[in-house]
């Protein structure tokens, strides 16, 4: 695989990392008017993100071995972008319902977080195992490739957390922030589809 393609995949990983944590920060602004700014809201958001990572890593890893093509990952990210773009529209009905239905803040906030965040974040977490599969040329370098992918997405996470809190939030509303990240994820998805990296012809477990 040419190194330009590898660099592009890693760059997408950075931007997806930004979008993942950035969306979590925006989602905290969605939940607070309904459930307060207490520790329960943050506990719900963080555990929901972890739930999505868990599911996304597992499903994404399985899928990556069956269909190791960047186009499949790109399509998953386009779907993730659609879910992200939908979040500002579904959040008020979901939160309004959960806020009234559950007296316990933790349960209400957790159910709302799952409803709003799990689908897009799970699909976005397909990236890391997929990227490892696409970038891996031989088992000898497996550790390094996996380490690189996780490092770069995590750098994106840090930039997403700080950048959203201290740069985007003073500039624009939480809905606009979410739409911006949906666009970023869609562009990453389109880019991965355009790359046509991976074992397109032989499929299966070919390496």
């Amino acid at each position: 695989m040419p190194s330009l393609t590898q660099a592009a995949i890693l760059a997408f990983g950075f931007f997806l990392g930004v979008a993942m944590m950035g969306f979590q920060m925006a989602a905290s602004r969605f939940l607070t008017p309904y459930f307060g700014s207490g520790i329960q809201v943050w506990a719900s958001l963080i555990s929901t993100t972890m739930l999505a990572l868990m599911a996304g890593y597992y499903i994404g890893g399985t899928l990556a071995d069956r269909r190791p093509r960047s186009g499949v990952l790109g399509a998953a990210l386009i779907v993730a972008a659609i879910f992200l773009a939908a979040a500002p529209f579904i959040k008020d009905p979901v939160l309004g319902w959960a806020s009234g239905a559950f007296e316990n803040i933790v349960i209400g906030a957790l159910i709302s977080s799952v409803a709003i965040m799990v689908a897009p974040l799970t699909l976005m977490s397909f990236f890391s195992p997929y990227a490892v599969r696409l970038l891996l040329s031989d088992a000898q370098h497996g550790g390094r490739v996996a380490g690189l992918v996780y490092s770069i997405t995590t750098v994106g996470n840090i930039v997403g957390t700080l950048g959203t809190s201290f740069v985007l939030m003073p500039l624009m509303g939480s809905r606009m922030i979410t739409f911006t990240f949906a666009a970023v994820v869609a562009l990453c998805g389109a880019g991965l589809m355009a790359l046509r990296a991976g074992a397109a012809a032989d499929g299966g477990d070919a390496r």
Binding site: R29, G36, S37, I39, G173
Partner: protein, 321 residues
């Protein structure tokens, strides 16, 4: 000194504490310290100096004095702005039900309870440790007509359907108000829970860019805003309907003063009234979707510098605007 860590706060707060708290600040030894409690939300210090109890909050390495109480003078409000919070009593046609959001030492609520024992006063406080300390040291004595509810101020309204003659909001975290308690949507909810002729009282820190935003957001919801400059803080009183004349408010204040003999005379407090008839410059109306309360509170008004002073210091010396 006793040290009571909250178990959940320790579990979940440890990584945060490690990241943000400078060594020594979290457990600073203050002069006259009698108790330190690490709650889910902040470190709360209670000190006693010259017989006066102080409730001091440690937020992000800074200390903020929120409440003072003198047990020898239980009917006194030592913090000047809290006296002006009571000016709101003169606005509604009758004061039967009062709601306070943000308890602190509970001194304002207790003051109202002592002077108007027939009024029903509900205090909403997010931090149960604050309620416990208010009761332990600050003369806060909940009973059938003085209730303390542990809840987020906005979440409280999602489940409470009652109406109040007076709603007082003084919910701070350091220098800023949690964003969801300072938006057009929140004030609209508050307004919907006022009885006809009722009023909302809001304590506002005047030295940051949050001030013009708060005033203009109140103006977006309420027909009238009155301003009381109160020892470095500003107390805004918002109400609907036609603008009240100074004479009608004074007459009501005099009548209430005669009936309840307030330690801090209501007519004198009302004399500090200024009517806010125009919008504040550079104040954007805050909405749930866009309310950068933290960054606005971090920008000093006028000179755009980061605020260094603790709320307590600003309170004692009028900030340069």
């Amino acid at each position: 000194m006793s040290y009571t860590p909250d178990r959940r706060a320790v579990l979940l707060g440890l990584p945060l504490a490690a990241a943000f708290a400078a060594p020594g600040v979290a457990h600073a030894q203050l002069a006259g310290q009698v108790e330190v409690v690490e709650s889910e939300y902040s470190t709360i210090y209670v000190t006693r100096n010259g017989g006066i109890y102080s409730m001091v909050f440690g937020v992000n390495q800074k200390l903020f004095t929120e409440s003072l109480y003198n047990p020898a003078q239980p009917r006194e409000l030592p913090v000047e702005y809290t006296r002006y919070m009571t000016a709101g009593l003169a606005y509604p046609p009758a004061v039967t039900n009062v709601l306070e959001i943000g308890l602190g030492g509970g001194t304002t609520a207790q003051y109202l309870h002592l002077h108007m024992p027939q009024a029903n006063i509900t205090c909403v406080e997010l931090d149960k440790q604050v309620i416990a300390l208010a009761t332990k040291y600050f003369g806060f004595r909940p009973d059938a007509r003085l209730r303390a509810v542990e809840a987020d101020g906005r979440r409280f309204f999602a489940r409470d359907r009652r109406r109040y003659d007076l709603i007082m909001v003084d919910a701070y975290r350091g220098t800023f108000v949690p964003f969801h308690l300072l938006t057009k949507e929140f004030f609209t909810i508050v307004k919907s829970r006022l009885t006809p002729g009722g009023a909302m009282v809001q304590n506002i820190e005047p030295c940051t860019m949050l001030y013009p935003a708060a005033i203009n957001t109140l103006r977006a919801v309420f027909a009238n805003i009155d301003i009381y400059e109160a020892g470095g803080n500003v107390v805004a009183i918002a109400y609907d309907g036609p603008e009240r004349t100074a004479a009608s408010l004074q007459a009501r204040a005099v009548a209430l003063q005669r009936a309840h003999a307030f330690r801090h005379p209501l007519p004198q407090l009302l004399a500090g009234r200024a009517v806010q008839r125009t919008a504040e410059p550079n104040g954007r109306v805050l909405v749930d979707d866009f309310a950068p309360a933290e960054s606005l509170a971090g920008t000093a008004r006028g000179n755009d510098r980061t605020v260094q002073g603790a709320r307590g210091q600003i309170r004692s010396a009028r900030c340069p605007v």
